[in-house]
């Protein structure tokens, strides 16, 4: 089960609202490489993990991603507070506003709603961990792109933190993949699928 802790992983306090930034950063809430997809990906894949280290790793990183989802939602919320209609129009936030007002909704920066098609749960430990390595790098690139577009230091501080987490998770998933292959047939990692062919695991 999950127990809520009434705090953010890294407290957020953004002084200056900026709806344009909110629209860009929305992609890390519900976009193709965002935190919602990340958390669902790892928390769904973990059932197929054949080794305890990997069950723990996917559970822990999946839970941390939910914490990141909360941080990104908070950034969007704080960037869109106390807006006038004029500011909304000027920033080009009107397209988002007409459908969601200033509510936090999972979609990409271009307005495409979140879909589970952004993630895969393949039931194969090598395949899933390899997807996760790519997912962390795709999220890291997205945060790099956000950093190219956002000047406000209050916002950048948190985007930089989230970007760094992608790199740490990439490292841990790499170690997880190594750990898995070390336990498999060294001449042919693909001889069987340890997530499915349970009788092949010693």
């Amino acid at each position: 089960m999950f127990v809520y802790e009434k705090k953010l992983q890294f407290p957020v306090k953004i002084k200056n609202p900026n709806p344009k930034y909110a629209q860009i950063i929305a992609s890390q809430y519900g976009g193709p490489d965002g935190e919602l997809g990340a958390s669902l990906r790892y928390l769904s894949q973990r059932y197929a993990m054949p080794y305890d280290e990997l069950k723990g790793l996917l559970t822990d990183i999946g839970v941390e991603e939910l914490g990141h989802l909360e941080m990104v939602g908070t950034i969007m919320y704080q960037l869109t507070r106390n807006l006038s209609e004029e500011e909304i129009k000027k920033a080009g936030f009107d397209a988002y506003f007409v459908d969601h007002t200033t509510g936090v909704y999972p979609s990409s920066a271009a307005g495409v709603p979140f879909t589970a098609a952004y993630l895969q749960s393949k039931g194969d430990v090598i395949t899933d961990l390899t997807e996760n390595l790519a997912a962390e790098q795709k999220a890291r690139t997205t945060y790099d792109n956000i950093l190219r577009l956002v000047d406000d230091p209050d916002v950048r501080e948190h985007i930089k933190f989230l970007r760094e987490r992608e790199i740490v998770h990439f490292q841990r998933f790499g170690e997880g993949l190594r750990l898995a292959t070390d336990k498999l047939d060294e001449k042919n990692f693909y001889a069987f699928n340890p997530s499915f062919d349970k009788n092949c695991i010693k």
Partner: protein, 83 residues
């Protein structure tokens, strides 16, 4: 930054240190040196969390209900107040 925010930041920093060690231990469970460092940091974090909850507000639903649990600011809010 008021007292609550300052202490929350400190608490989050300690929790983050602890979490980094926790994730490392998922893929290096045999590293007893890190296990020891983790347990030390966990004790320090627990003391700090107890102090925060005593001074400001409970952090989990099992520790408070009703008015005490509902009182803001919630994590996404930035109103200046000593909750």
């Amino acid at each position: 930054m008021n007292n609550r925010e300052a202490m929350l930041k400190k608490l989050s920093a300690h929790q983050f240190t602890l979490w980094e060690m926790h994730l490392y231990l998922d893929t290096h469970p045999w590293d007893l040196h890190m296990v020891e460092a983790h347990n030390k940091a966990a004790m320090k974090y627990k003391l700090l969390r107890d102090e925060f909850e005593e001074r400001f507000c409970p952090l989990t639903a099992s520790k408070a209900s009703g008015v005490e649990w509902l009182k803001g600011p919630w994590p996404w809010e930035i109103e200046e107040c000593d909750c």
